[in-house]
Each structure stands twice: as C-alpha cells, then as structure tokens.
Symmetry: C2
Subunit: 527 residues, 2 copies
C-alpha cells in the first residue's frame, strides 16, 4: 500500500466521541449496575438494527423529526438511524404478535442531529438504557415496578438522597386543561407550552399560551394556579378535593391511578423519592398515562415560578438566579449536575404499538436512562473524592517476569510457558514482549496497569524447581515484601489462592463506597 497522506483533519464527526481508558471503565460499570437491576426484575434483552425503514420513524417524534439522521439513498430501501429505542421496540412487538407480554431491556446508541453540548453529556450519538413492560395487567402494578426499578438503580449507583422522581399523569393534565377552559383542539399545544416550565418562567409560558397560541388570558391564569402544585399525598388530596376537577372524567381517572400507585410505591419503599408535580408534561406525544422524570440535586435551580429543570436532549438550561430563588443564594455554577438535565424519563404509552398494527396493540410502560448524563455526574463526583485515580483499566492478575545476572538470556521460553500455564488455569496474565527485558522495566509495566501479582523467574530458582510469587505494593517491612518461593509444580494453585485472598480483602474494603469501581477496589497501592 502506498504512502499517500490525507489532506484532511483526522477527527470524529461532530457530536460524537471515542470512549477509552478510565471513562470506558466507569461507563461499563454504570451499564452493569443498570442491567443487573433490570435482570433482577426478570427482564430479557433484545437487539434491533441501528437503522430502521424511514417510514417506521415517520410521525412519531413531532417537530423533533427534523433531528433524524437519514441514510443516503444508494438504491433500495430508504432508512434512517434510530432516534430512540422505544419506537423500534413497538415496531418489534407489532411484528411478533405471539409475544403478548414481555419485560425487555435494551442498551444501545441512538442518534439525533442536535446542537451538541459535550461537557453536559449532550451528544449526537449517545447511549440509552431502556426498560419497558408490554402486556395487559392489573392497573398500576407494572407502573409501580418501573419506579421501583428506577429507585433501585439510583441507589445502586450510590445516589441515595440525591435524586427525585418527578411524577405526573397525562389524564390529570388533560383534565386540568379541560376544567380551566382549554378548547379540545388546543390540548396538545398547551401541554407543550407547560412542558417548557422546566426551563422558562411562568410569565414566558403564559405569553406563549396567550400571544402565540391564542389562549384566553383567564384560562391561562387558571392553569397557572395548578401547575405550581407539587408535593406528595398532600397534592393528591388537594386535587381530589377540587370538586370541579374531580368531576372531570379524565382528571378523576388519572387521580385514582395516582392514588392506587402511591399505595404500591409505599409498599415498595419508593414514595419518599417521588415529587408529584403538575408542571411535568413530557414532550413526546405518545404518552397516555403516568409520566415521570428523574432529576438529581441541582439539575437546575428553582425559581419562584416553578422548577426550572432542563429536560430532553434539545434543551439547554442556563442556571438563572432570580432574587426570589427559594433555595437561597448558594452558587451552583461548579456543581457538575447543574444543567445536565433529567437523567431518566419515561411513562405509559398504550397506543404506540397499535400505530404499526391494529391487531398487535399492546399497552406499554417504560423508562429510559441517559447514560452520558449519569456518566458525567458520576465521573465528576469520583474526581471530587479522588476515587477515579484508583480505577484500573485492565483486569490482569499476574505479570510473569524474569531476571538474571551476567549472561542472562531473558528466559523468554520459560516466561511464555508459565504464561501459558496460567492462561490454561483461567488466570489473567501478561509478560513482556521482549526477548531480554530488564527487571525494572517489567516491574514498571506491571505497576502502570496496577497488576497485583508478579511471578518472577530466575535461573537458580528454576534449577531448583521453584519461582517467586510477589504481591505488588506491600509496605516496607512486610514479611512477604520480597515475594515467596513456591514450587513450580503447584504454581497455578499458589497463585489462585493469593488472587482470591486479595479479592475478598478488596471487596470488603470496596463495600464502603457504593460507586467505588470493582477495578479500583482490586487495585494495589504500588510501592
């Protein structure tokens, strides 16, 4: 092949990035934390193609459809990269009508031609972790389990006390709009305006409702009295005591759902993480029942007009500090979580599958976890408490080395033989790919990767049928600081025993911090 050089900048496409090193280890740990919870609740995983027929995605995302990446027309079918994992799941259910109920999770990349904001974890290519339940069950039981799963995941990530699940119900919202006097044809567009309360003050949203969308000002003011409500059972009781509202069929159905759900959430020990919030509306059209979003402490500052919380990939929240900031005047501009937006969101969508096939219609409820945002927050918290520096990127347990005096030939064949024996025994091992490596270089290679054990070969020891096993990073004065001689014949057993011992010791230490990485817990403090 020639030596032709490129004349362009070598880079990744805008809004995408390479993942490697410690970032990759942290992200993998987040994936496994999330999927382990999914599995504990009986989920199976499916995998759908990264692109779909264009017409599958058409008409599902409203005005966000402009963010869809199309494939070039190179002859054949017209395709587009998936925008989320929910529509492909619904398409799959419509194609597999024998499946009448399923709990499925799907961890995969999705694509949006959006303005990237990399530091806040808003990318054009990003991972979602979705969990959805399809099937007909008694009311609110799958919905309750989704919220229980959500809570388990953030507890497992070590976010105890640092996240809130905002909850609302489409039928309650519709009921509120109806009793306030919103004409039926304006229900969805007024809902979209309310959806902006997470980033805009009420005055702005009201202006949009009245000036742009032609709503009567009195109607808007009545809506304004509802959307500031948030809390727990107190809000539920207040709304049920609102005779005009509770007389509305839609509102009543929604409020009764929430009442049932609250009981289940109490049993599941989740109710104290819930904020029942009338300003939560969710952008997507397809929700039909409960809707929810998870925000973490300081996702965005609050204002007196309601919570200014950034949500969805497309929105940027700039922390605004009004004089009436009810949380006080603390400066959060260095808080990694400010502006990151919601870290998970979802709801019930009972009609989406039916859009693909009437006979396949199946009620569904689900949630999507935004891994990049969870990653951004996790990483900055780890850097703050210095636990990031302890992360290992490889899992190697043993570095096989050799040393010798004058005439030392490197013992390459012997190092290879020992490495082979360790691999055969299921032990993770490396050795230097040099014929005659120097001992300090071999130690350095082991230390750089945090390898916890060295097997050290020398001519004399080999002649006596022995070699040295050394735990790396033992303190000065430790009786085994210089390693212990073991019989070559039982090397695998001796090494395994020491690896197990170090691991069970590390897992005891690691139990202290929920988010300490497995790799970090196993990493030796090199001397």
């Amino acid at each position: 092949m020639g030596k032709e050089k490129n004349s362009f900048v070598v880079k990744v496409p805008k809004g995408t990035k390479d993942w490697y090193g410690k970032d990759m280890v942290i992200r993998e740990k987040i994936f496994s934390t999330i999927t382990n919870v999914f599995k504990a609740h009986g989920a199976v995983t499916i995998d759908t193609p990264v692109f779909e027929l264009k017409e599958i995605l058409t008409g599902k995302y409203g005005e966000d459809s402009k963010l869809i990446y199309d494939l070039a027309d190179q002859g054949g079918e017209l395709c587009a990269l998936r925008y989320d994992l929910t529509v492909p799941f619904a398409r799959w259910l419509a194609m597999n009508t024998s499946i009448q109920n399923i709990k499925r999770y799907h961890v995969a990349k999705v694509y949006r031609r959006d303005q990237p904001a990399m530091t806040k974890g808003r990318m054009r290519e990003f991972y979602q972790c979705d969990f959805d339940i399809a099937g007909t069950y008694d009311p609110m039981l799958p919905d309750a389990e989704i919220l229980r799963i959500t809570s388990e995941i953030f507890e497992s990530l070590g976010w105890k006390g640092r996240y809130t699940i905002k909850l609302n119900h489409r039928k309650i919202l519709d009921g509120i709009f109806q009793v306030c006097g919103v004409p039926t044809e304006k229900l969805r567009t007024i809902s979209s305006a309310v959806d902006k309360l997470d980033k805009s003050p009420w005055a702005e949203v009201k202006r949009e409702m009245t000036e742009e969308k032609g709503l009567n000002e009195e109607v808007a003011d009545r809506i304004g009295e509802y959307v500031i409500l948030k809390g727990g059972r107190d809000v539920l009781e207040k709304l049920r005591a609102d005779e005009k509202l509770y007389a509305n069929e839609s509102a009543k159905a929604g409020l009764d759902d929430i009442d049932l759900l609250f009981g289940y959430l109490e049993t599941f020990d989740v109710l104290d993480k819930i904020s029942f919030d009338m300003s939560l509306a969710r952008g997507l059209d397809y929700y039909t029942g409960v809707i929810y979003e998870v925000v973490t402490e300081g996702s965005a500052p609050q204002t007196s007009e309601g919570q200014a919380l950034q949500r969805e990939g497309k929105k940027e929240s700039k922390p605004k500090k009004g004089p009436s900031n009810i949380d006080g005047e603390e400066d959060r501009s260095n808080d990694p979580s400010v502006g990151v937006g919601s870290v998970a969101a979802g709801g019930r969508y009972d009609n989406l599958v039916g859009m693909f096939s009437e006979k396949a219609n199946l009620p569904c409820v689900g949630i999507s976890f935004g891994v990049e945002r969870i990653f951004s927050i996790t990483k900055q918290r780890m850097e703050a408490d210095a636990s990031a520096s302890q992360i290992r990127t490889t899992e190697v347990d043993v570095f096989v080395m050799a040393f010798g005096g004058k005439g030392f030939d490197g013992l390459l064949k012997q190092r290879m033989e020992i490495a082979k024996r360790l691999w055969d025994a299921g032990i993770k091992a490396e050795f230097s790919w040099k014929v005659k490596p120097k001992l300090p270089q071999q130690f350095k290679a082991a230390e750089v990767n945090g390898v916890p054990f060295a097997v050290i070969l020398g001519d004399e020891e080999l002649a006596a049928g022995k070699c040295k096993v050394k735990e790396m990073g033992l303190p000065e004065g430790h009786p085994e600081k210089d390693g212990v001689l073991v019989d070559l014949a039982t090397l695998e057993v001796e090494v395994k025993k020491r690896i197990e011992g170090a691991k069970s010791k590390a897992s005891l230490e690691g139990a202290v911090g929920a988010m300490s990485m497995e790799g970090a817990a196993g990493a030796p403090k090199t001397a």
Copy 2:
C-alpha cells in the same frame, strides 16, 4: 395521538434482523466467552462512533468501498457507517499519539451494503469482535499471542479439534510472485487472484491471471506449484530449501518470521492448530506481514486444486463435489458449517496508522471474529445435541406467589413486600401483576421462565410468621417436593442458601459440556 394507520409493511431493513429470545442468550454467551479471553490477556476496550467522516474510510477498502453505507447530506459533515473496526482503531491511534502501545478489543456492529445470505450469517449489519495489538515489540511475539488468543477462544467455545488456523505471510507471497516472474506492478492484482483460490479452482484463477491480467502462462504455472503447498514445518523447510526463493529478500524475511513464530506457537501449544497455507492471500490491501484465517470443519469442501474455502462477507461458496475430492465422498450438505466461511481473520498491518498521520505511525497486528457465523454454527450444534432447549432467557431465581381458599384476597401487599425484601437482598424475583392471581397461573408463569424457586404465601402460614420455599421441578417422592416452611424473619437467608446450593450443583453438571449455556445449566427440569 390519533389512530392513523400505516400503509406500509412493518419490517426491518434488508440484511438486518432483530435479536431476541434464546438466540440473544446464545449470542451474549459467545460475546462473554470471547471478551473474557481478551481480558485474560490484558486487553482494554474502546468504543468509537458508528459513523466516521467519509474521508476517513476513503481509500482503505479497495473495490469493496462501494459497499460503504453513506449518511444523507443533511448539511454539515459527510459521514458514512463504519465498514470494519480496524480503520476506526487506526484513526483513533493517529488522534492519540501519546498512546504508544495498547492491546484493545472492540465488540460492535459494522455495516456493508452487500447481498445478504441470512441463513449463512452474512448480514448487512453484523457484529465483529476485534482484538488488536499496537506498538513496537520484539519480532513475532505479539503475533504469537494473537494466535494463542484465537486458539483459546475456540477451545472455550467447545470447538476443540474442529477448527484450523490457516497461516501465511505477505512477504513470502510477494517473494514467490517475484521469483516466479510477476512484474512488480502486477504483484497486488495477482495476489487478489490467488485470494480467490478459496472458492475457485486453480484453472479458473490461472485463466484470470493470464487472460484478464495478462500474466505469462509459464509464470502462472510456476505460481501454481507454490500455492498448492500447505502443512506445517514440512512446508517451511521445503520453502527454505528452495534456494531461488530463499535468495529473495522478501521471501527470506517472511520465512524467517514464520520460523520464529512456529517456535513461539509450539511453546504456546498452538502449532498443531496451524495450517501453513500458500493459497491464503487475504483480500485487504493493508496487511504487511503474517495473515491468518480460522476455518471450521467443512467450512467448504476441498478440491484437488486446493482448498475451496469461502471467505470475506462478499463470497458465497457452493459446496462443489469434484471426483478428486481428497477428503472422500461424505455428503456435507446438512453440515451447518458448510458455506459459513471463515469465522475469524486478521494479520499484521504496520502502515495503516501512518496513512492518517506520519508521526503517529505504529505497527499493529490483530484479528476479527465473525460473531454471526460463530453463532450460526454454535446454534445448529446446540440444536443437534438438544442443549438449546434448556436455555433460560431470564435470570429470575424466585417467583413470589400466594394462595388461599374462599375469601382469598390475593395477598398482593404481602407479595409486594416479600418481593421488595428479596430485591433489597440482591435476589432476583418476580410476582404476578394481578391483584388476585390463581395458584396454577402463578406456577405456570414461573415454569415458563424456568424460575428455580417459589416463595408461597398463605394466610395461615403468614399468621404463624412463616412461608413456604419450594424448589421447582423436584421429582415425586422427594422429601421437599411440597416445599419447606421457613421463618419469615430469616427468609432472605434461607432463600439465598438454596439458590447457592442449586447453582453449585448446576455448575458441576454444566462442566460436562463446554458450550452449555450458564442459564441452561441453572435451569430446573420442571415437574
């Protein structure tokens, strides 16, 4: 949202598929088998975007460039879906010049606008598992470790004795072509012709060389004498004894490499899996040293002209049975592996990184495992020995049930409380999402998913502070067939003890077949 119905067929794009159910479990097991071996050799993983700037891919794949999927030009950069994982890896190395050596693996989907052959595992979207070593080391040591890893992977997959690693060296091939009299400007095009020997007889390849590519017939005949050579050290000795060939600088360098490599492979216990094969040429331009491909028994039948082995995504091998078939006349038309082609392939590419940045040039060697093909063969072998039927798709350990007589209220709250306690204890559990489920329905739900244990609640037992733990599928007459009563207070401990017991019993049984799935090993035989 309205009830507008689509007027198109709901399907996936051509050459793509959804993965779910047992197929998904088998594929996940293949992934973990492969990546566990990578990790045992000190590999780290990286993740690159699914699309690259178009110019990154340009000029890397020769005539296969027409198979690249472009993204539509929607303004901004021109991008294309990745064709393999090697070029993105080289691009990443060129962008990260501080990284002077790395062992990286990458498991991800790649895209080729090719004619699909789904039953043989040839797709337009498919997974590759790549392992590559970048860095400057003593000769042939990384190359030997790649082949050791390859062997470990197929042994771990249970393919002992059923696979062959075909090996050659670009410098030997170039040397052969030179001594046979191929003009320098025709070296690559003649190499491409030899590459077709895996699917075409020699007569056809010779015709291409002479009639299409204008090679002198005597030169072609001389090449014909070399490319039929295959074996082990015998072939190496024969070629080194060929004075004219060994006097060629390129051939000598390649043969000395192979000599060194054979020594290392012997130490690594891999040499007996190698077929040193002069007909192996590999399609891609960028290889500079050793090249290899893994074929499994009967990947394609042999002919007297050499091995007719299908390779690369684009080729279809139709089992041809010539009268001179040297393997005998057995009919392999039902052999799942016939026509599947190579299951892994790779080689050394020392100049690819330098194509992106001269100062970043790094020698590399790697291999790519074709997961879909390995999956096709694995699945059909599992179906043949009936082990596929034992695969579980979920990992749930406990189904929480309730039963009662007249006036039974379903004990929903109690079932939820017990499920919550089990989840809190890290136990995977489900319960029925019905307020008043019938006992047979609950047993059926547990059996369908192969859940190994039931926790059964009843009013009387609860009043006594107890509940029943039942291992599913115990034979008639077993003392614990109807379950055992345990104290509610110590339920988690009792359940965990039983799950551990069943797992260690199952793993003993599971050790019999290397490819028996973990889930299958843990699955109960329901009564």
